[in-house]
C-alpha cells in the first residue's frame, strides 16, 4: 500500500515541489489540487502541509497512521510536521515511535538530532555521525553535520565536504539550495561577501530566504549580531513570508538594542506563525521591558525593574565607569556608543531575552555592547551568584567582543571575563571550584584548540563550568607569562585567525606547547592540594556536620584542617564558616576575628559572616574596616532595604553624610514598609549636608504620611528655627 501511494502521488508531488523550489507562484494551488485529489491520507497530509494547512495535514497524518500503523516513515513525517509547528514533545514521541518500528528510519533519526540541536544538548554530533554510519553519504545528514562543524569553526573542511556533495548527480533541487545556504554561511563567517552561492541559490529560487537566514544564524553563533541582523533583513526581503526569519530578525534586533524594529518583526512573525514560542515569549518580554525604568548617563543605558532601578543604579554606574577606564586601556577598545545593561528580576525573563525560551542555564549574556543578566532579585549569594561580579564578567565581554569585531573565540572571551572577575572585579577571589580541580587531577581538561567545544557542545553537564575556570586560568597564565599576550591574541582574532593560529602568532608557541605550560603551571600551583582533594572534601564535610550538630570543638578542629589545606577556598561550603561559628560558640574571639578577616579578604561574601565581622570590627575599634565590610554586604544584598538603611546609619555616625544619603535614598526607593521613617532618615541626611530645603521637603513627606510623627515634627521645628 505504501509503495502504491508513493508511485501514484510521486509525480504530482514532485511537480508541485518543483514549482515551490523555483519560487513559482503556482506551488500552493498545485498542492491544494493534489490534496483534494489524493485518496491516500499520507499523500494528502504532505500536500496540505506544503500548502500551509497545518491542521488539515495533522488530521490527514492521523488517518494515515491509523491506516498504516506499522509505517515508520509516515510517523516520522508526522513528527517533522510537529517539529515545524514547534510542538517538540509531540515530534519527539512520533520519532521515537517510528524508530521503535524501524530503528534505521532516517527521517526520525535526523528529527531527533535536530531536536537535540535546538535544545543545545550535548552529543548531537555523535547522533548525526551514527545516522551516517547507518546511511553512509545521506545528503541531509551530511549537510546537518556540516552546519554543526561550521559552528565549531571547521570552515575549510566544511566547504570541501559540501562542494563534494554538490558534485553528486542525484541531488534534489531543495537539497542543492540547502547546500548553497551552507556554503554561503561559510563565506559569511570568513567575510567573503558577496558570496557567489547566494546568487546561485536565488537564481534557482528567488524566494529562498535560507540563503541569508542560514548564514545569519552562524553569525549569531559567532556573536556577530549586527551582521546577522543585516542577513536576516535580506532573508525577509527575499521572502517576506518567512516567519521564522522575521522572528529571528526581531530577536536579534533586540540584541543590538533596536526595540521598536524588533517589535514590528516579531508581530509580523506572530501573525504568520502564532505557534512559535520564541516569538510569543519575546513579544511578552517586550511588554515587560516597557515597564522597566531606564537610567542613562554618557556611555551607559541601564534598564531594571522600576522599583529596583534607583537602588541598583549607583553600583551599575560605578562598575561601568570603572570598566570604561580600566578595560579600555587593558584591551585597547572603547565602545562607540553607550553600553546597555539590562537587569532582570526573574531568571526566566532573562532567559527569554537571551534565547527566546525559559530554562537557560547561564546567568548573563553579552550581545556586543548590550549586556543582559540576572539581577540580584533573580539569584542571590545563597545561590552562589554575586551579581556585581557577574556584571564585571559581562562588561569584559563588551571589550573583548568589541576589540575583535566579535571574532574572538568563545573560550578566550570567557577566559578574559573570568580572569577579570578574579583579578579586577568587585569581589576578587583566588578560589577555584573543586569540580575543576577534580577534572585537573583526572586529566579531563580540554586542549586549548578544543576548548570552545566545552562551551558550545559540552560532553557532560559539568564541562561548561570546568571550561569557564580553565579558560580563566589559561588567560591568567597568558597575562603573566606572555607580555602583551592577551591583547596580541585579541588582535589575532580580529584578523580572523582561529585559536591555533592566534596562539602561534600572538604568543609564539604552538597550541600543544601552551597546553603543556598550562598543565605545568596548574600542577605547580595546585599540586599539593590535588593529592589531598578527598582529604579536603572530607574535612569540609566533617566541619559542617559537626557545626550542624553544635559539636563545636570537633567543628573547629575539622575546619582548621580544611582551611590549612586550601585557605583560598571561599565558595558556598567554605570551611571558614563553620570555623567562625565554632570560634564564636567557644568564645575564641581572637580566632573568630582572624577567621572572619581571612574569609573576607579571600573574597568570601556569606551575609552572616560579613555581619558578624562588621559587628566585631565595630566592637574592637576597626570602624573604617567595618564600613568596608558593610559596603561589601550591601553590594551583595542591594535590594535589602533594611540593610541599606542600617548601613546609612553607620555611615552617618562616621560622618560620611554623602554616602549615608545615598544609602537612605536607596532604602527609600526600595519601598520600605515604614515610609515615614525612611523619609525622615533622608531628611536628616540632607540636613547634615546643609541641604535645608531638601531636608524640609523630605520631612514634610514623612509628616504627610504620619502627621503625628514626633521626631519628624521636631525636625520640622528645627528647620524653621524653632529650637
Amino acid at each position: 500500500m505504501m509503495v502504491a501511494w508513493v508511485l501514484a502521488g510521486a509525480v504530482a508531488l514532485a511537480d508541485c515541489r518543483a514549482l515551490e523550489v523555483r519560487g513559482a507562484p503556482g506551488a500552493e494551488p498545485c498542492y491544494r489540487e493534489l490534496a483534494a485529489a489524493a485518496a491516500d491520507p499520507a499523500l494528502r497530509a504532505e500536500a496540505l502541509w506544503s500548502a500551509g494547512d497545518v491542521q488539515g495535514a495533522n488530521a490527514a497524518f492521523r488517518q494515515a497512521v491509523a491506516a498504516a500503523p506499522d509505517d515508520a516513515r509516515v510517523r516520522a513525517r508526522w513528527g517533522r510536521l510537529f517539529l515545524d509547528v514547534h510542538q517538540e514533545a509531540d515530534a519527539e514521541a512520533l520519532f521515537s515511535e517510528a524508530l521503535a518500528i524501524d530503528p534505521d528510519e532516517v527521517e526520525a533519526l535526523l528529527g531527533l538530532a535536530k531536536l537535540a540541536l535546538g535544545r543545545f544538548e550535548g552529543g548531537v554530533r555523535a547522533r548525526v555521525e551514527q545516522v551516517l554510519e547507518r546511511h553512509p553519504g545521506h545528503f541531509d545528514a551530511e549537510l546537518l553535520l556540516a552546519r554543526m562543524r561550521l559552528e565549531l569553526g571547521e570552515v575549510e573542511a566544511v566547504r570541501a565536504t559540501v562542494e563534494r556533495l554538490l558534485e553528486r548527480g542525484e541531488i534534489e533541487p531543495q537539497q542543492r539550495l540547502d547546500a548553497y545556504a551552507v556554503l554561503a554561511a561559510a563565506d559569511a563567517v570568513q567575510d567573503r561577501v558577496p558570496s557567489p552561492w547566494v546568487a546561485r541559490a536565488l537564481a534557482l529560487n528567488a524566494r529562498f530566504a535560507d540563503v541569508h537566514a542560514v548564514p545569519a544564524r552562524l553569525l549569531v553563533i559567532n556573536r556577530r549580531y549586527r551582521e546577522a541582523v543585516r542577513r536576516y533583513q535580506q532573508a525577509v526581503a527575499v521572502n517576506p513570508e518567512d516567519w521564522a526569519a522575521h522572528a529571528e530578525l526581531g530577536i536579534n534586533l533586540l540584541r543590538v538594542n533596536r526595540h521598536r524594529e524588533a517589535r514590528r518583526h516579531l508581530q509580523l512573525a506572530y501573525h504568520g506563525d502564532p505557534y512559535n514560542a520564541l516569538t510569543v515569549n519575546t513579544l511578552r518580554l517586550l511588554d515587560l521591558l516597557d515597564g522597566f525604568a531606564t537610567v542613562e548617563e554618557p556611555g551607559l543605558v541601564m534598564r531594571a525593574p522600576r522599583e529596583q532601578a534607583d537602588a541598583l543604579a549607583p553600583y551599575v554606574r560605578a562598575e561601568a565607569r570603572r570598566a570604561r577606564q580600566q578595560m579600555a586601556e587593558r584591551y585597547g577598545y572603547t565602545p562607540e556608543g553607550p553600553v546597555v545593561i539590562e537587569l532582570y528580576e526573574h531568571h526566566d525573563d532573562f532567559a527569554v531575552r537571551t534565547a527566546g525560551l525559559p530554562g537557560l542555564g547561564i546567568l548573563g549574556a553579552t550581545f556586543g555592547d548590550v549586556v543582559v543578566m540576572d539581577g540580584p532579585a533573580a539569584k542571590g549569594i545563597a545561590d552562589g551568584f554575586d551579581w556585581l561580579s557577574a556584571l564585571w564578567h559581562e562588561l569584559a565581554h563588551v571589550y573583548t567582543l568589541g576589540a575583535t569585531d566579535n571574532r574572538v573565540s568563545r573560550w578566550f572571551s570567557e577566559g578574559v571575563s573570568v580572569m577579570e572577575e578574579r583579578q579586577h572585579g568587585p569581589t576578587r577571589q583566588r578560589s577555584v571550584p573543586l569540580g575543576f580541580l577534580e577534572a585537573l587531577a583526572e586529566d579531563r581538561l580540554l586542549p586549548v584548540g578544543e576548548l570552545d567545544e566545552g562551551f558550545l557542545r559540552p560532553r557532560h553537564p559539568a564541562q561548561v563550568g570546568i571550561s569557564y575556570m580553565q579558560a580563566g586560568l589559561l588567560c591568567e597564565l597568558i597575562d603573566a607569562r606572555f607580555d602583551g599576550g592577551l591583547t596580541a591574541m585579541l588582535r589575532a582574532y580580529r584578523a580572523g585567525r582561529d585559536t591555533a593560529a592566534a596562539v602561534r602568532e600572538a604568543l609564539g608557541v604552538a597550541p600543544d606547547e601552551l597546553d603543556r605550560l598550562f598543565d605545568e603551571h596548574l600542577k605547580r600551583r595546585f599540586g599539593e592540594l590535588l593529592g589531598n582533594l578527598e582529604t579536603f572534601r572530607g574535612a569540609v564535610r566533617e566541619a559542617h556536620d559537626a557545626a550542624a550538630a553544635e559539636s563545636w570543638p570537633a567543628a573547629l578542629e575539622a575546619a582548621q584542617r580544611a582551611v590549612a589545606l586550601y585557605p583560598e577556598y571561599v565558595q558556598g561550603d567554605s570551611a571558614y564558616l563553620p570555623l567562625a561559628r565554632a570560634a564564636e560558640a567557644l568564645g575564641r574571639d581572637e580566632l573568630l576575628d582572624r577567621t572572619l578577616g581571612a574569609y573576607f579578604d579571600a573574597g568570601g561574601r556569606d551575609p552572616w559572616a560579613l555581619r558578624r565581622y562588621a559587628a566585631r570590627l565595630q566592637q574592637t575599634g576597626g570602624g573604617e574596616q567595618a564600613l568596608a565590610v558593610w559596603d561589601a554586604l550591601v553590594r551583595t544584598l542591594p535590594l535589602d532595604g533594611d540593610l541599606r538603611a542600617e548601613y546609612g546609619d553607620r555611615l552617618a555616625a562616621a560622618g560620611r553624610h554623602v554616602d549615608a544619603l545615598a544609602a537612605y535614598r536607596a532604602a527609600l526607593a526600595l519601598g520600605p514598609h515604614d515610609r515615614a521613617h525612611a523619609h525622615l532618615r533622608v531628611a536628616r541626611a540632607e540636613l547634615n549636608l546643609g541641604h535645608v530645603e531638601d531636608a524640609r521637603r523630605e520631612v514634610l513627606r514623612a509628616l504627610e504620611l504620619a502627621p503625628r510623627y514626633d521626631a519628624a515634627l521636631d525636625l520640622l521645628l528645627e528647620l524653621n528655627g524653632e529650637r
Binding site: 542571590g380 515604614d674 515615614a676 514634610l700 502627621p707 503625628r708 521626631a711 515634627l713
Partner: protein, 290 residues
C-alpha cells in the same frame, strides 16, 4: 508626650468608658518547637495587649482545650459591654477537609462552625478576630459580621501548610516600624499590614512560593492593639489643645485629599503651615512633660 493624639482618636472612636477585652489562645504545636513557639507568641501578644486592654486572658498548653475556649469566650461575652471592643487571637495549626475548618487543640478540636457560634454570642459592638493558623481563610465567610473585622493567615482553606503569619503579627505589636502613622501605637490594620509584608518577604527571601496569603476583611475598626515606647501613659492635654489638634488633623487630611489641586510648592507650604502649628501646640507646657 506624643500620646495626646492617640487619646483623642481613641476617645472619639470608642466613647469615654469603652474598654478592650481580649482572649488569646495558643493551640496544639504538634512538636516541641511549635508548642514552645506558639506559647511564646501567645504570651508575648497578651503582654503587648495588656498595655491597652482592660483584661487579657491567655489559654495555652493543656489548658487550651475546646471546653476552656468555649467557656472563656462565654466569659468574655459576659464581661464585654456593648460599647466595648473584643479581641480574640487564635494562634496555632488549623486544618480544612474541604468542608470543615478545625482549630487544633488538646482533646477534641472546635470546628469553624463551633467558633462562629460562640463568637456570635459576643455582645461587643466592635470585634477583632485574628485566626493565625493554616487553612484559616476558610473562616472568612463563616465569621463575617457587621461588627467584626476578621484577620486570617491564609486566603482560603486550601492553604494548609504551616503558616508564619502569627510570628510576624506578634512581632508587629512591639516593632516601631509597624507603626506607620507614627502615633506611638500599633493598630490592628498596621499590625496586619506589617505581618502581610513580612510574610511575603519571608517567602521571597527563601525563593519559595508563598503558601499563605493573609486577609483582613470586615468593617474598618479603629483599634489600637499595642503601645510602643515602653507603654507610658499619655500626658494630659492642656485645655483646648485637644480640640485644636483634632481640627488641624482634619485640615491636613483635607489638604492631602485635594493634593492634585495644588502646585507642589504651594501644597507643601500649606502642609508645613498646618504641621508647624501642630508641632508648636504639641510643645505647650503640660503636653510633653517638660
Amino acid at each position: 508626650m506624643k500620646l495626646v493624639f492617640t487619646l483623642v482618636s481613641l476617645l472619639a472612636a470608642a466613647g469615654a468608658f469603652a474598654e478592650t477585652r481580649a482572649l488569646v489562645i495558643a493551640g496544639l504545636g504538634g512538636t516541641p518547637e511549635y508548642e514552645t513557639e506558639f506559647q511564646r507568641q501567645a504570651h508575648e501578644s497578651a503582654e503587648r495587649l495588656r498595655a491597652l486592654a482592660a483584661d487579657v486572658v491567655v489559654l495555652a498548653g493543656p489548658e487550651a482545650s475546646r471546653e476552656r475556649l468555649q467557656g472563656e469566650l462565654a466569659a468574655l461575652s459576659r464581661r464585654a459591654a456593648a460599647g466595648d471592643t473584643a479581641v480574640v487571637l487564635l494562634i496555632g495549626h488549623g486544618s480544612f477537609d474541604d468542608r470543615d475548618y478545625r482549630f487544633n487543640l488538646p482533646g477534641p478540636d472546635p470546628t469553624g462552625a463551633d467558633l462562629a457560634a460562640w463568637l456570635a454570642e459576643l455582645r461587643a459592638e466592635r470585634q477583632l478576630v485574628v485566626v493565625a493558623t493554616s487553612a484559616s481563610g476558610a473562616l472568612q465567610e463563616l465569621f463575617a459580621d457587621p461588627r467584626r473585622a476578621v484577620i486570617t493567615a491564609t486566603r482560603s482553606g486550601g492553604e494548609r501548610n504551616v503558616t508564619v503569619f502569627s510570628h510576624y503579627f506578634t512581632a508587629a505589636l512591639s516593632d516601631a516600624s509597624a507603626d506607620t502613622d507614627k502615633d506611638g501605637y500599633v493598630s490592628s490594620v498596621e499590625a496586619f499590614r506589617f505581618a502581610e509584608t513580612a510574610v511575603a518577604g519571608h517567602y521571597e527571601q527563601r525563593k519559595q512560593m508563598a503558601t499563605e496569603h493573609p486577609v483582613l476583611d470586615g468593617p474598618e475598626i479603629p483599634l489600637q492593639l499595642a503601645r510602643l515606647d515602653g507603654g507610658a501613659e499619655p500626658s494630659p492635654l492642656p485645655a483646648g489643645a485637644g480640640e485644636r489638634l483634632a481640627e488641624l488633623e482634619a485640615e491636613i487630611a483635607a489638604l492631602k485629599a485635594n493634593k492634585e489641586d495644588y502646585e507642589p510648592d504651594d501644597y507643601y507650604a500649606r502642609l508645613q503651615s498646618l504641621l508647624l502649628e501642630v508641632a508648636l501646640l504639641r510643645r505647650q507646657p503640660g503636653t510633653d512633660g517638660s
